[in-house]
């Protein structure tokens, strides 16, 4: 028997496989394909205080081994989530982890305050790394003082674990990680998408309505893996690894680099059953390698 349980800064997950915000809706979109109860957790679509319509179409461009998106946090607002969506998903036997966003610190705080009172919500992901909004979003995550400010402010009103989602679009991601650790983050998740761009040579126009967007998929995996390894060596809080994970081997690599859990993102678009396949694959790897506790994989890189 392999014990697949992991702990992310006080949040217990039945296994290290979760789904990344913005790639898995609110989970309901996948119930025809998989048993949501089998997942370690679901990081649900990014939430803001008020309804947001997101950016104009086109919001997506396929790239070599990946894709760009410029959705821009389309969502119906935190109250709609709490009152209408959450009651329909709260009874699944998996952690539902809201991903929260704001254009100013006060918005993050107000959203976090509302979630603090929701029974069954045991953690939140603080998104300071969305590259697709004009105000806030990634702006908070690319400077140390603002990353610290928003984390400290949310820390004051949210009593459960806070996982801060970091942007890779920085000079030194370990500085930001250390900053939010000092500000009270219980864990960090990384990486969000890389700022990228696609051009149609025939029309000489950008493909995305926003000109730039966030790059995801296997194209970014080696960079994400490097950043997870660097951050793991720089902070004491757990790291959740994200970035182009397509299969169990990718997930195990992230754990060896230092991730305590992982998020499956863009791969959900290619195979809606991939998250469950990754859980099975990790279990099989552990069995084949006589590993009884999956958590011992974390940071197991042999140098």
């Amino acid at each position: 028997m392999v014990n697949l349980e992991v702990n992310i800064g006080g949040l217990n997950l039945k296994n290290p496989v979760t789904t990344a915000s913005g790639t898995f809706g609110f989970g309901e979109e996948f119930t025809d394909f998989i048993d949501l109860n089998s997942l370690g957790g679901i990081f649900v679509k990014g939430l803001t205080l008020k309804n947001r319509e997101g950016n104009d179409y086109p919001r997506m461009a396929e790239t070599a081994s990946g894709m760009l998106n410029a959705v821009g946090l389309q969502n119906k607002g935190i109250d709609y989530f709490i009152n209408t969506i959450y009651p329909g998903i709260k009874d699944y036997g998996t952690e539902i982890i809201p991903n929260i966003n704001g254009s100013v610190v006060e918005e993050y705080v107000e959203v976090a305050e509302k979630l603090n009172d929701v029974a069954g919500i045991n953690a939140l992901e603080l998104n300071i790394s969305c590259p697709n909004v004009k105000e806030g979003g990634m702006a908070f995550g690319v400077s140390c003082p603002s990353a610290i400010a928003v984390t400290s402010a949310v820390r004051e009103v949210f009593q459960k674990p806070i996982i801060v989602k970091l942007s890779p679009n920085v000079t030194d991601i370990t500085e930001i990680a250390k900053g939010v650790e000092g500000a009270g983050a219980d864990a960090v998740s990384l990486v969000n998408t890389f700022l990228g761009m696609a051009i149609d040579a025939n029309t000489k126009k950008p493909i995305l309505s926003t000109i730039t967007g966030g790059l995801s998929g296997p194209a970014i995996k080696p960079i994400a893996l490097r950043m997870v390894w660097q951050v793991y060596n720089a902070v004491k809080i757990p790291v959740v690894g994200i970035g182009g994970i397509m299969n169990a081997t990718d997930a195990i690599e992230f754990m060896l680099a230092g991730a305590s859990a992982i998020q499956v993102g863009t791969a959900n678009f290619i195979d809606p059953q991939v998250s469950v396949k990754i859980i099975e694959g990790i279990k099989e790897y552990c069995q084949n390698n006589n590993i009884s506790e999956v958590s011992t994989l974390t940071g197991g890189l042999i140098l």
Binding site: E53, M60, E62
Partner: protein
């Protein structure tokens, strides 16, 4: 229920250099499919094609366990999909999206432009069962771009326009005489290029009849998770993959 299912290639029917009908078969049973539904097809052995391709479903045959797609090879995905060996395995996610309203005992006009004809054979077959009288209006650049007229004619009169006049009336579909003569249709279904559908929707609006259009936005997931394929509607941005692809044109803010 939506499924991820393995099929194998049983036949290509080549319509011309760029257009083909792909028939896939499965060992497992075929899900119920409604007119307008589409599938997300994984292009096999093509690492350069990262995402699945959303393709409208032409027809399914539950007994033969086959599913057919009409495909115009315009990009690397649809080109690759047109050149697989017979017997190749193809993984699809289906049936996705909503479907056209099936009207009973009405007179309807179905307007298809270019490759936007795929959903209309299944639609016409369902309409015929409901004693609805169907007329097709197909438009393309030349006669070489008009396909499946034999299949359409099983279900109703087929009117044609070509931009060069090589078949049917010369001009755009919206210039066809059917719109100026004794126009007595109750409803229009349309699928094709956006400018054509917008023009058709305007005619429907001017004539105070309802119109449904099937949109073809670029998609990633096809199941309402990524929110990439949105179109603006009176109810905000909606996903073409789940709230569509079929929309009442009155709801669209093109």
């Amino acid at each position: 229920m939506k499924q991820v299912q393995d099929f194998s290639v049983v036949d290509y029917h080549r319509l011309n250099a760029d257009n083909y009908i792909l028939t896939l078969s499965s060992d497992a049973s075929i899900e119920n499919v409604n007119p307008g539904n589409f599938a997300e097809i994984k292009i096999p052995d093509a690492p350069e094609v990262f995402l699945r391709r959303p393709i409208s479903i032409l027809e399914v045959d539950q007994k033969a366990k086959t599913i057919r797609f009409y495909i115009k090879a315009i990009g690397k995905g649809t080109k690759k999909l047109g050149n697989l060996a017979i017997g190749s395995s193809v993984n699809i996610v289906y049936p996705l999206g909503n479907s056209f309203t099936i009207l009973r005992q009405k007179r309807v006009l179905i307007v298809g432009g270019g490759s936007g004809i795929a959903p209309f054979i299944m639609l016409a077959s369902k309409l015929k069962k409901e004693n609805t009288d169907v007329t097709f209006l197909l438009g393309a650049r030349t006669k070489n771009d008009i396909f499946l007229t034999d299949e359409f004619s099983n279900y109703g009169e087929v009117l044609i326009t070509t931009e060069d006049g090589s078949l049917g009336e010369k001009g755009l579909v919206t210039q066809h005489s059917v719109f100026s003569n004794n126009f007595d249709f109750n409803h229009i279904y349309t699928c094709g290029p956006d400018p054509m559908m917008k023009a058709v929707a305007k005619i429907a609006n001017d004539k105070s009849i309802s119109c449904e259009a099937s949109l073809e936005n670029m998609m990633a997931c096809g199941i309402g998770a990524c929110l990439c394929c949105v179109t603006p509607t009176i109810n905000g941005n909606q996903c073409v993959c789940t709230e569509g692809p079929v929309f009442n044109t009155k709801d669209l803010q093109w």
